[in-house]
Symmetry: C2
Subunit: 246 residues, 2 copies
């Protein structure tokens, strides 16, 4: 079966308080099993996660991080407030474990496509909950079962370039566990757990624009995943005690 | 523009020496710009990269690695022979920098879908060259310009589950560098380099089977990338001196 990825065109500029589900609903005709992938940026915007840097008071710890990285102290304060643990610090680089458990540079805080100078955008407070609200609203509207992924472009430990990656999920298991199934030769698959939510987020990233395309969402049709209305993205995150790098 | 991902159905079981390009050609109708993603497994098989474990003599270093990991000493010998550097060792886990520069568990050596007991499969000697041979053969056959990715399912540093990932590429830049372009508000994008070859490999992985589906290849249509006939996958690999974890 083929998989197709359809950008959702013609969405407006979003502002805090806008009804994202309603804006999406008027531009899609979803089918059972479709996965809606929405860029974190628009989810954060409608949820009011914009912060003006000049409204932030930097702590001594933030001043210290600013000195090590060359980043503004107010941004460092926000990074620290969003983080459970600072993992790596270098000139121009801060990698943290976000309070959600996910590992990301700058705690996922972003300044592009925000639309106001000296304003940055934090991740949603609970991206799984954001995805669930969209899923429930759109399922009710269209009478179909959907999955929703909140996606962002994240860096990798060993590779250059970002990859579209899930930071929140609803309606699907983020992992597809195929251990116990057979391979072509009847040999039991040993270690085949696929990060299917991340594969779908990466696929959607092929049509979700980072620049001036204005296409912050996509429908992925035909992907195989396990439906689960209570699964959370944390199922896919390597817990700190299994961290490979400490 | 939409992106579609089409599994290539009906491919035979491959054996060393088989003509992979010919087998693919009889089952596809590629268009200009299409990306062919082929699972490493079939590329390695036709290139004869099968090794019987009982043909391998383990060194003292391999015996030591076997004791630390619980893996067979012969497998450890092969992992070491494929590696430039051992990065992390634990019970049941070896992460290395492959001699190609890529970081992978077990140096990418795999035992599933190999079809013979106690036989494992190494990565192609030069996956970029494997991709280039397929690209040149199929471009000549069909009179179109293509890109080819050799993909494998690799683990990640901070997340559970594998992700379809490029280990060889031909005909495209593996990175899409958008720095200097504008965002929706005219602000210059600062850090937008996308690992587009990996996003395409992840997308293809949604239809490429790990188990008994027998669909080791896919055509990805509609993805935006920069054509480059001399680009190499190493362009996408973080060099050792920029390693975030030493």
């Amino acid at each position: 079966m083929s998989v197709s990825i359809h950008p959702i065109m013609g969405l407006p500029m979003f502002r805090p308080g806008d009804d994202l589900a309603e804006a999406l609903a008027s531009r899609i005709a979803p089918q059972d099993g479709d996965v809606l992938v929405v860029a974190q940026k628009v989810v954060s915007k409608v949820e009011g996660r914009l912060v003006r840097l000049d409204s932030v008071t930097a702590s001594a710890e933030a001043d210290d991080l600013a000195a090590q990285t060359g980043k503004p102290a107010a941004l460092c304060e926000l990074i620290l407030s969003e983080s459970a643990e600072v993992m790596r610090v270098r000139k121009d680089l801060v990698i943290v474990r976000h309070r959600l458990g996910l590992v990301a540079a700058n705690a996922g805080i972003d300044a592009s496509n925000v639309g106001e100078a000296d304003t940055v955008l934090l991740w949603p407070v609970d991206p799984d909950a954001s995805a669930a609200r969209l899923r429930v609203a759109l399922e009710a509207r269209f009478g179909v079962k959907l999955a929703v992924i909140v996606g962002d472009s994240l860096g990798r430990a060993w590779r250059v370039g970002t990859l579209g990656t899930a930071i929140g999920v609803s309606g699907m298991k983020p992992l597809r566990d195929r251990r116990g199934e057979s391979d072509l030769f009847g040999r039991t698959l040993q270690a085949t757990v696929t990060g299917v939510a991340d594969e779908i987020a990466a696929a959607a990233s092929l049509v979700i624009g980072e620049g001036d395309e204005g296409t912050p969402a996509a429908i992925v049709r035909g992907a195989v995943y396990d439906r689960d209305e209570s699964a959370r993205l944390a199922d896919l995150v390597r817990p700190p005690h299994e961290d490979l790098f400490r």
